[in-house]
Every structure is written in C-alpha cells, then in structure tokens.
C-alpha cells in the first residue's frame, strides 16, 4: 500500500464522514488503517466503498482507529502532585470546572472525583468529559469495570491514600465489588457527577461556554501531528483560567509557541499570565 493511497483515503473519509484523521501522525495512522484492512481482510478500495456507504461501519472504524487505553489512577505520582499541590488551591473558588478531553472509558474522571471527595470539593465541582468515540462514552457513563483486570488498582489506591495521609479511606467507599459478575462499579454518588458527551476535538468547536480550572488531556495529543497539536493546545489555552492547569500524559510535551505560555511541573502545565513581549 503506497503512501498516496492511504493519504487519499483519509481525505475521502473526511469528505464523506464527520471524521478527519488527516492530521494524525503519519506512521501511526497508517499502521492503524493497515491493521483494519488486515482484520477485515479488505483492500483500500473495498475499505473506501464501505466507508462511503455504511455508517455503522464508520463508527466501528473510529473505534478501531482511536486508542482507548486508560487506567484508574494512571501515574500515581501525578495524582499525588495534583492532590497535594493543585487541588487544594481550588478550595477558595465558589465553583470548580474540570474538563476531561479524550476521557475514554472514564477511569481518570472517576480517579479525579474520588480525590475531590477526599478533599471535600465534590459538591461545588462541575465535571465535563468528552471523547470522539461513542462506544467508550457509553462505557464511561456506566462506570463499571472488569474486576479481575483492575484488581491491582486497589493497591495503587491504598498506597496513594497512605501517602496522602487518608488511611481511613478504603476502596469500598467508592466501588461496589461483585466477584460473581467479576465487576467493580463506581458508586452512584460519584457516577452521577460527571457529564459525559461525544465530542471531536479536531473537527468541532469546543461545546462549552465556561472556562476551566483543570483540563485533563492524557495521551491524546501524541496521535496528532505537531501542527494539529498546536491547534488543540491553543484551544485549551483559551479555555483555561489564568493559573489553570493542563494535565498531559507522562511522555507528552508542549512544543513551539505554547511552551512559553505554561509553567511545567512534571506532566502538569500551569497557564502562565506572564507578559510575553515577543508574541504580543
């Protein structure tokens, strides 16, 4: 499969569907599409035809192209930093706005809310969470996860609570474990809190009027080329209050212009209102 055909396919996909993957990282998106061709035993022309004529297939395609890996309390050190250094400073605000952009199946949204509950911040917090993939949004709303697969997060949770000095808090406060069904379900008082909705960061305007105190966008930008990354980070920048923070994945970084507009601490980037003469 030549490079031209694959780029051409992405252009056709953009033309015939609501989805635009043209500015995803070349090598990565090409590989995802090659995998889809292989899994469905199709060639490029068959894929294109199916894309143009079968809407359900397109939704499945988006599910296959996008990456939905996430974890409860992913990178505990980040949560520790947020809990001790960032979240407490939100206490003085009347209401706190949080956005999880690219929330996948919701594990980080719930990790966030559990810590907010520990800090007594839950009641005056508004959380919105978005993802391009309809299917993961449905999963996120349920807040029910495979127990066997997620068992190790009990340990992560305990060690985090220990470090944070909340030894009395246990996992059972937040999750209903069902060994027979092999599930763990986030309890209702947490599950009902976030508003999940489908939203495509790349193609759609940001659907919120409010500004945010914290935007989580973890391991999403890595799938975009540098130009698209810049475009999305600009949107985040505009949507953050001064002093608001953007939380990225462990090995993501801001490049170019916006590198100067945030103060970096690990994977937590604080919007700086410092006057940058060069750019004004």
């Amino acid at each position: 499969m030549g490079d031209i055909t694959f780029k051409k396919y992405l252009e056709e996909l953009k033309k015939h569907t609501p989805y635009n993957f043209c500015d995803y990282s070349d090598n990565s998106i090409q590989r995802r599409i090659e995998k889809i061709l292989k899994d469905h035993d199709m060639d490029m022309n068959q894929l294109l035809l199916k894309t143009k004529t079968d809407d359900d297939f397109v939704e499945k395609l988006v599910d296959d192209i996008t990456v939905n890996t996430t974890e409860l309390f992913r990178n505990p050190e980040t949560w520790e930093y947020l809990y001790t250094k960032v979240f407490p400073s939100l206490r003085k605000k009347k209401s706190i706005n949080i956005w999880h952009a690219g929330c996948s199946t919701g594990q980080e949204v719930y990790s966030n809310l559990i810590l907010f509950n520990e800090l007594g911040l839950l009641d005056h917090t508004n959380v919105v969470a978005t993802d391009i993939n309809q299917k993961v949004i449905r999963g996120a709303k349920k807040g029910e996860y495979d127990l066997n697969f997620n068992n190790r997060y009990i340990e992560v949770f305990d060690s985090l609570m220990n470090k944070l000095g909340n030894k009395s808090s246990d996992f059972g406060k937040y999750f209903e474990m069902n060994n027979a069904k092999d599930t763990m379900k986030v309890k209702d008082f947490i599950v009902k809190k976030p508003k999940f909705r489908r939203h495509d960061l790349v193609e759609e305007e940001i659907p919120f009027y409010q500004k945010f105190d914290v935007i989580f966008c973890r391991n999403v930008l890595i799938y975009f080329n540098p130009e698209l990354q810049l475009k999305i980070v600009r949107k985040f920048y505009d949507k953050l209050y001064d002093g608001g923070v953007l939380v990225l994945g462990t090995h993501e970084a801001l490049h170019g212009f916006f590198k100067t507009k945030f103060i970096k601490h690990g994977m937590v980037y604080t919007k700086s209102n410092t006057f940058h003469f060069k750019y004004k």
Binding site: N27, Q30, H251, E252
Partner: protein, 191 residues
C-alpha cells in the same frame, strides 16, 4: 544478496527483552563517544519497575540516553530508550511518536512496533539489531527491516541467556549477520 552500504544511517535500532539490559549496558559503555548516528533502543520492561533503567544505562553509557517525549527529533550520537508503557514509533521525518495502543506480543513497548515503523521510515538507511530475549516479539519486526533492505544483525543464540527471541527471528529469515556481543560492539564502532 549483498547490500550496498549507505552513505549514512538514519538510525540504529536495537531490541531485546528485560534480560538484555546488561548487554545493552555493555554495548553503550564500549561504543565510541563520537558515534555519529541516533540509537533507538526498545527493551521489554518488568511491569512493576517503572524507573531505574534509564539511570542505570546513563551511568555506564558513553552516549547520553533519554526516554524521548512525543515528537522529539532524533539526533546523531544520542540514545533513545522507549519509555515504559508506551510503544515507540519512528515517523518519516525522524521524529518519535509514542502510543499507548494495545499491547503487541504481550508487550508495551513492543519491539515489533519499533522495528516496523523504523523499517518503513528509514528503509535501507538503518541497522536493526535483535538481542537475547524470552518472547517472540521482535522477530517479525526485524524481518520487516530486512525486507525493506535495512541491515540486520541477530545475536548469536549460542551467546544468548535466553534464545527464544533470536531463534524465532532466525527461523523467519537470514539476517545479514549473526554476531556475538563482542562482534556487535566492533561492528557498531566500525560504522
């Protein structure tokens, strides 16, 4: 087939499992300090040990070793280690793309992924080296490097602690060279 030696290499890609750590350390401690090309290393990590590998390598290495951030551009004479829990891909413009997509061959990072993407982006301007390992990950990837005319080296299974990785590769294709660790070091220093 005898491959023509290219005028330069865009990268040297080395894959191995957790057990190859000491060998990689040895290679990096013996490589000449003015080595010209970028070296990309993909090692399987032990799940619960997330740090220490980078520090360990840097302690002994003659070249500086980093765990790259997404979209970092590769530079000659530097060593790039695939970060824990991310796949590392090489883009056409010699930048690194990271991904958290599903594990491949039970591995993330997966050596196959790094080899496949490097083969696609570097073509004949690369050397792929597969070291000792207890998993088939890496075998199909280095074969792809070979198919796209990159130069391939597989560690001689006789010198491997665990030879599953290298034997799997040798069942799939004939690499340009099968070498002992000492010979791999000499080869790299002759580039």
């Amino acid at each position: 087939m005898v491959k023509n030696k290219p005028a330069y290499y865009k990268g040297i890609v080395i894959g191995g499992s957790a057990g190859s750590f000491s060998l990689v350390t040895k290679i990096l401690s013996r490589i000449k300090p003015d080595f010209k090309y970028p070296i990309i290393i993909c090692l399987h990590r032990l799940k619960h040990i997330r740090s220490g590998l980078l520090e360990g390598l840097n302690l002994k290495s003659n070249l500086s070793v980093v765990e790259p951030y997404d979209k970092l551009r590769l530079e000659g004479g530097k060593v790039y280690l695939a970060p824990s829990n991310y796949h590392l891909f090489i883009e056409f413009d010699s930048t690194v793309s990271l991904s958290t997509e599903e594990v491949l061959n039970h591995s993330r990072p997966s050596i196959d992924h790094t080899f496949f993407s490097a083969a696609t982006s570097f073509r004949e301007k690369m050397v792929g080296i597969l070291l000792t390992g207890a998993n088939k990950d890496g075998a199909r990837g280095i074969k792809d490097v070979h198919n796209k005319n990159g130069f391939t080296i597989v560690q001689d299974p006789k010198t491997c602690d665990v030879d599953m990785m290298t034997k799997s590769a040798l069942q799939l294709f004939n690499p340009d060279k099968v070498l002992s660790p000492e010979e791999i070091i000499d080869f790299l220093n002759s580039l």
